[in-house]
Structure formats: C-alpha cells, structure tokens
C-alpha cells in the first residue's frame, strides 16, 4: 500500500511536452471518428422525432414507410421491452418514446434503408397520431401546483408532501446555526438567479455503426466517453449478454460529459437486428441539440451574511434545477459544491429537481456546480463591493483549507485553494490598469473529481518497446499522459511506448471518461501495471544471475543487483530482459485492476477583464487568466488545454449560450448559428497558471484537471460586468439584449 501514496521524486519525463501519439492521424484526416466507419452491406438510419413538447402517442402506422423501396427495417418502442429498473427504463424511454412524447425532438420511430435519401423519405410516410397535452418548459412554472405533470408518480421518498408531481428529488446539506450566523452579519444580501440550459456543444454529432448477426453476436462502433457503460446499457436494453456485444470507441470529437449517455445506440442495434445488416446512424446537428446533452436549467436563491471586515457569518442557497423530462439528481452536486470554497460556521444548501418538457439532462463538465457557484460568487462579490473590500482578500480570509469542515460534510485534507488565491493576488493581471466601461471580475471554482473502475495491461515487447492497453477514450490527449507515466515508471523513453484504447472485449471494465478521472485513475493503474511488469523483469534478471529476486532493483530502466552482497552483475536493461523473455519464462506483461479512490478535490480561481459596449450591451473579454491546482501536470500542454477549453466553455455559458423555448414548447435555436458558442474572434488568449500541490492519493501527486475550469467564468464575468457598468446580472446568459435592458433600466 505504501507505494499507492504520493512519494516526492524528481521526474525525468513527467512534466515534459512530447508530441501526442495520435497527432499525425488527426492533422492528416486519417483519424477515424464515429461517422467515418463503414461496413459491407451497410444501411443508413434516420429517426422520426416528435414535433410536440408533450403529447400522447395514439397510434403509429409504419405500413406505407415499410412498403417504400430500399427500406429494410423500422423500429418503435414496441420493438423494445419495458425494463423494470427505473434508471434503465428512463434511458430507454429517452432513446425511444413509449406511450408519450415528453419533449420536442423525442424519438418516436426509426428507419434503416439502403440510402439516406430512402430513410428520409420513409420518415415522411410514417403516420403518428398525437393527442397533444399541456406542456411546461420553465423550472419555476413546473414547480407550481397545477402545472402540467411531465410524468406522474416519479417523486423520490425525500420530496416533501404537497409539492408539484414534477418535483422528483430534494436534498439538504450543511451545518451550523444559520439564524445565529446571519444575526452576526453587518449585512445580509439575498438574490435570485436564473440560468438557461446549455449544450456541451461537441463538434462531432453522435454517431454509431451497429452490426448484429443472426447468431446473437453484435459489434458497435461509436463515439463515446465510455464504451463499457454503453455496452452495459445497450446489452440490458436489447436483452444481450455483455460478452456478445463488443463495443469499440472511435476517436471522439468532443464529449465534455455529453457522451457519457446513450441516445440512439440501442436503436441502431435494434434496426440492425431486424434488418440483418449493419446500420449506421449519425445524428444531425438539429437532433444533437433537440435530443442529446443539455445541462440543467436553474432557478436559485442565495443569501449570505458578512461582517464589515469581510468574514462570512452564514450562507444559504436554495437551488431548483430541471434535468428535463426525467428524474435527476444533479442538484445534489450543485448543492454540495456551492460553498465548497469557504470555511463556514453556518451553511445550508437546499436542492430540488423538477421535471420539465425538455430532453434528459446529461453531464457537462462539473455537472451542477457552475450554476450554484455562479450564484454564490456573485453574492460574495456584491458584499465585497458594498463594504469596499478587496474580493481576493475576502476570499482568502474565508478560504477553505486543510482541516476545514466542508460545506458538504467531510473535513478537507490537503487542498490548493489558498495557494491558488495567493497566486492570483501576486499576478500582474490583478493590478493591471483598466479603461472606461471595463471591469475586472474573479471567481473561485470547485469540483470533486473521481477515480473509479480502471484496468490497464502493459505488454513488454521483445524488441524493448512497450504497449499500454487502457479502456478510456482519449478526449484531450490522455494517451500522451498515460505514455508519459509508463515511461517515467519503467525508465524508458516516451517514444518506446504506445498506448491504445481497448474495445470492451479486450480489457476488463473501465468507468466512463468522466469526473476528471482518466489521468488520475488510469495513470495510477498504469504506474501500478508498470511496477507489476518491473517485478517480473527483476525476477527474470535474478534467475539469469542466479540470485534472489529480492536482491534485484529497478534503476533507470534496468535491473541491477541491490547492493554489494547481491553479487556483481552489469545492469540488464528492459530491452535486454525482453529480448530473452521467451527463454526465461515467456512474455512479460504487467496488469492492474482497481476501483480507484483518493482523486482529490480541485479548486481554481479565474481573473477576467471585460469591456461592455453601452450602445449594444455586448461584452468583450479582454484578458483572462486561469489559476488551478493540477497536483502534478503530467503533460502541461494538455493541462493548459483543459483549463483554456473549460474557461471558454464557461465564457460561452456566461455570455451567449442558451436553450430558447417558444410558448409552443419547441426549441427555437437548434443550430450553431442561433446557439452561439464562442468563436476565435470573440476571445483573447487564455493565460494559465498551473499550481502543483501534490495529491496525496496518487503516486505522482496527480489531480484531475478537466472539470473545474468551467465553473468560475460565469461569476467572474458577471462580477466584471458589475464592476464595469454597475449592473448586477442575475440571469444567464448575459447576452447583449439582456445586458442592454439592464443598462437602460439603470439609466
């Protein structure tokens, strides 16, 4: 066990910036993504979707579509069973509506045909009779008594009696005496906030190629963050054995949490089974927006009390999140994360999940946290402004630290928040001059980070090279990081190692690429698999030398006798041991399987300067700096990349991105023209300051870095806007029309 824990060491390769192993494929167009594969005899599938926000399906007549030339199979909910398990049933119902359509874009039928044109033509021939029902898409409206009920009887036991049936989940966290705390404050501010749902906005639409054969075997090629979880879900919904369904993760064109859940893969498999041919199913961008992904939308109240010298005396948040038409518990994470940055004597967070006629929520980078922390950091900033206090000093004064009882219960171990705040305070950005209509804002961010189920195999080839087989799709350069850690541990050059992502038949179960877990957990398993291989190589060397295994050590990529008593033998390198492996006992491989814990929470601080155009209400980001603790940055370029990418997604969330529903309950902006994600000309460079405060739970001190970066921008920009033009924006996005309206109201 001792080796699990962090040990201080001088790194030789970890911390360098070698080229990624998939680089050439990706710059030459050779990398194979979800939509890039084909199969012999392949059919093309299309999905028919509901034009209604909420309706009962009276009947579906597919006869005319079936008669169309080229059509080989049609499926509806009738082709699937009804899973007993609530979670599985929701997943399936989200993939294919059963009895009722619950949102605009909900799938009702799917066609596989010889051409895309034939499949599209067939969709037009399917007759669906709907009886439309009243709908609700707004979280506050859905909570009111008498609101249209999205699904009846779905509330958990924890929901207090008397609430709308749309309220499915309630949570409460915190400690201390709120009343006493608020009484100690010199000022108490309470504000209401509302945020729109956003989409992960991955550029690659969801795509898969399914092939089910008459002997019950199946192959699924799919862009996913977790081939194993997709296998679990698809096998359960199709009544297959896991061993018979091999899922291969394609290169993935972005996910950010959105590709941790199936949307149409079981439909492609069902079509393939029915048609007896491979079926390719690629969503359009319109379908991606209407039926995959989005985050929760929220309505929140935050109340904070502060003394005039900046000490927070009590804090409370009431969070209502809607995760669409299905029960959802993302509010748990929002509620736990809300005040994580603060050391508080009295804190309470209350959360409710509310169903609305919107697509089922999927994870998006630190799910639930950006919203609640936006609200909290906005109120903290307002208090700082009121008292004329320095916002960084106030955060330092109240910052959680080792030994702080966190707002969600546990006492923090080593965390990097104070160091991060101090780094921001010392940075020239914090004191740089500002011009008219310009403002500087800051916000803390937080994410829990996870470890999870992980398997790694490490094969020592006879030519002295090494193959690492892992099971997590590489979403941002992780193969490079994994190779670096293997190289470091084995003591051989990075270039001698090739890391690949296995299909589900080639390696044991791996959790999805989520929770910022891959560099942490797969890295840990890789280091341990390398140590397993090293033990075996030391044993071979011992046999060759005729000494005890215990008398051999591994130093700089070679077995050496441990101390003078072990005997005098020249070091045997990995390549030398590998070359004679057949003669000394056979192939050498290291393995490690674990459900990793100890990921270590992550804090970040963002500083941003903006300028508001008072004529248009448009906000331009002028300067942006991210400060975040990475534990140990294995490949600093990709750590920076995570921070920059997360920050820009948060900037988009703050300024422009939103799901806009009409009074008819239909999504009005299901395309990149109207759902505006940040483009290159919107942005400055995103500067990064990586702090390295070792995570005690990882041999190299690694901490997940992927998610925290999306959290602070929402409040950092709102706070900057407030300081620039004196209006406090309590609704996201702060799009130009909304900001202009607020400026006009202020006068």
């Amino acid at each position: 066990m001792a080796l699990d824990a962090y040990q201080k060491r001088e790194f030789k390769q970890v911390g360098t910036r070698p080229n990624r192993p998939d680089g050439v494929d990706k710059v030459t167009g050779r990398a194979m993504y979800g939509a890039d594969a084909t199969a012999p005899g392949m059919l093309h599938a299309k999905i028919l979707r509901s034009p209604h926000a909420h309706a009962r399906i009276v009947s579906i007549d597919t006869s005319a579509a079936e008669a169309l030339a080229g059509v080989k199979a049609i499926v509806t909910a009738a082709d699937f069973g009804v899973p007993e398990d609530d979670f599985l049933r929701d997943v399936q119902d989200h993939c294919m509506a059963r009895g009722k359509v619950l949102y605009d874009g909900h799938a009702v039928a799917a066609v596989a045909a010889t051409t895309i044109a034939a499949a599209k033509a067939a969709l037009k021939l399917i007759k669906v009779e709907y009886e439309t029902l009243p709908h609700v898409t707004d979280v506050d409206a859905a909570m009111k008594p008498g609101a249209p009920v999205v699904q009846a009887g779905r509330a958990y036991e924890n929901v207090p009696a008397g609430m709308s049936e749309n309220v499915t989940h309630h949570c409460e966290f915190g400690h201390g005496d709120l009343d006493a705390g608020f009484a100690k404050a010199d000022r108490v501010v309470e504000r209401h906030f509302k945020t729109a749902a956003t989409h992960q906005g991955y550029i690659e639409p969801n795509a898969c190629l399914a092939s089910v054969t008459s002997d019950g075997k199946a192959e699924l090629w799919v862009c996913t963050q977790g081939q194993y979880f997709y296998r679990t879900l698809c096998a359960a919904l199709l009544g297959m054995e896991a061993s018979q369904l091999r899922v291969t993760a394609s290169e993935i064109g972005g996910g950010f949490g959105g590709k941790t859940m199936i949307y149409m893969e079981p439909v492609a498999l069902a079509l393939s089974k029915k048609a007896g041919r491979p079926v390719k199913l690629v969503l359009t961008r319109d379908e991606v927006f209407r039926a995959t992904g989005p985050t929760v939308s929220s309505s929140m109240d935050v109340k904070i009390g502060m003394t005039k010298d900046g000490r927070i005396t009590a804090a409370q948040a009431r969070l209502c999140y809607s995760g669409g038409a299905f029960p959802n518990t993302t509010v748990d994470m929002g509620a736990q994360a809300a005040f994580a940055a603060y050391d508080l004597d009295a804190v309470q967070t209350l959360g409710w999940n509310v169903m609305t006629n919107r697509p089922k929520e999927s994870a998006y980078r630190a799910p639930g946290a950006p919203l609640s922390i936006y609200a909290v950091e906005s109120v903290v900033d307002e208090l700082c402004q009121h008292f004329g206090l320095d916002p960084l000093a106030v955060r330092l004064l109240n910052a959680a630290d080792k030994g702080t009882k966190s707002s969600y219960g546990p006492t923090f171990d080593q965390i990097g928040l104070k160091a991060t705040l101090e780094a921001a305070q010392a940075h020239p950005h914090y004191t740089a001059p500002l011009g008219p209509n310009q403002g500087r804002g800051l916000s803390c961010g937080f994410w829990f980070n996870f470890g999870g189920n992980t398997c790694v195999s490490l094969n020592v080839n006879t030519d002295g090279t090494v193959g690492v087989t892992e099971g997590n799709p590489d979403i941002g350069g992780s193969r490079a990081s994994i190779s670096l850690m293997a190289a470091e541990e084995l003591g051989i050059p990075y270039e001698k190692i090739r890391t690949i992502v296995a299909d589900t038949s080639s390696l044991g179960y791996n959790d999805v690429t989520d929770g910022s877990r891959v560099t942490f957990a797969v890295g840990l398993a890789t280091i341990k698999a390398a140590r397993d291989a090293i033990r075996k190589m030391c044993s071979r060397a011992a046999k060759i030398w005729g000494i005890d295994e215990e008398a051999v050590e591994w130093v700089d990529g070679a077995a050496v006798p441990a101390g003078p008593n072990a005997g005098k033998f020249p070091p045997m390198t990995l390549a030398e041991i590998a070359a004679v492996s057949a003669e000394t006992g056979g192939p050498i491989a290291g393995h490690y399987e674990v459900n990793a814990d100890g990921a270590g929470v992550s804090f970040g601080v963002h500083l941003c300067d903006i300028e508001v155009d008072p004529e248009t209400g448009a906000t331009k980001v002028l300067r942006y700096t991210v400060f975040q603790d990475a534990g140990k940055a294995v490949h600093p370029s990709y750590v920076e990349g995570q921070m920059q990418g997360g920050a820009v997604q948060g900037i988009g969330w703050a300024l422009n991105e939103e799901y806009i529903y009409g009074t008819d309950g239909r999504l009005q902006n299901a395309g990149f023209l109207d759902y505006r994600i940040p483009v290159a000309s919107d942005l400055p460079m995103i500067d990064t300051v990586i702090l390295e405060i070792p995570n005690p739970g990882h041999p190299y001190g690694v901490r997940g870095v992927g998610e925290t970066g999306i959290v602070p921008p929402l409040a950092a920009i709102a706070n900057a806007v407030s300081r620039a033009v004196g209006v406090r924006m309590t609704e996201l996005p702060m799009s130009p029309p909304k900001l202009l309206k607020a400026l006009e109201a202020k006068g």
Partner: protein
C-alpha cells in the same frame, strides 16, 4: 433521382464520380470518394469542420453541391502533407498541442493554409476573424492561434 457525372481534380489528382443533383460536395467526398478527413459538424455552414478549397477559395463543402466540382481544383486535408512530410501547419498543430479531440482540426488547418496563402503575416486579430467560421469546442483557440502564428513565421523564413 437522375445522377450527374462529374470530372474534377482532387488534391492534384484527376477524380471522377457520379452524384445526385442535391448531393453536397461533403457527402461526395466522404461517402463516394472515401475522403472522410472533412467532417460534418452541422451541415449548415456554421462550424467549418468540412472546410476545403475549391479553385483556391475556402468553402464549407456542406454548402457546395457535388455537381459544382466539375472541372474544379479541390484541395482537402488529405492532400495537405507532401507524402510523409507534414505541412508546417500540421507540424505546428502537433508541437503546440493545438488540438484536443481533433474533429475541427482538418477544417481549421485547411482554413489556416488558405489564409497564409493570401496573407503570410496575419495579425492575431486577422487570424481570429479569419478562423471565426471554424468552431473548436476543446481548446478555447489559444493554442490554435499560437500554432498558426508559429507555422506562419516558419513559412515566412523558409
């Protein structure tokens, strides 16, 4: 639907295909010619993942019909490297970690190359506005801008 026979040049080589009148150049490249380097991110000209050049002009191939390729000179990502020698832009993208998932990379490389052919020394602002039609969701564009400028500097020096 009646198909159309098209003769064209792709990455310097003669190519022929048939397509329907409503088929896009992107669909032809991907589905008929096996050139899947151009990606479909939206199909409506908003994301730039399908960028190619037609007679030297940067276009979204999802907004061009296959039939329009008759007698044209088309360049795609597959033709950017010279054999096994990467174009300076391609090399710079790898060396500067200017890609994460890589789905936007082919389109951005094609677009950046088209810019540098017209303007070998763009300012950051010119570059950002030129690339405003190419969406990247992973990187925040920072490393993309740095990589293109590094390649541009190298190409000017060469």
């Amino acid at each position: 639907m009646k198909t159309i026979h098209v003769s064209t040049t792709i990455n310097g080589d003669p190519a022929e295909f048939i397509c329907t009148p409503d088929e896009t150049l992107l669909d032809v490249l991907r589905n008929r010619l096996g050139l899947t380097g151009a990606k479909e991110g939206c199909g409506t000209g908003d994301c730039g993942a399908c960028s190619v050049t037609v007679n030297g002009r940067l276009v979204c191939s999802c907004l061009v019909l296959g039939a329009e390729a008759q007698d044209a000179d088309i360049s795609t990502i597959e033709g950017m490297a010279d054999g096994d020698t990467l174009h300076p832009l391609q090399r710079a993208f790898i060396e500067h970690a200017a890609l994460q998932c890589g789905i936007c990379t082919p389109g951005i490389l094609v677009a950046a190359k088209a810019l540098l052919e017209k303007n070998p020394d763009p300012t950051d602002e010119e570059l950002r506005y030129w690339l405003a039609g190419n969406l990247c969701r992973c990187t925040g564009y920072d490393k993309i801008i740095r990589a293109v400028q590094a390649a541009a500097a190298e190409m000017r020096g060469a």
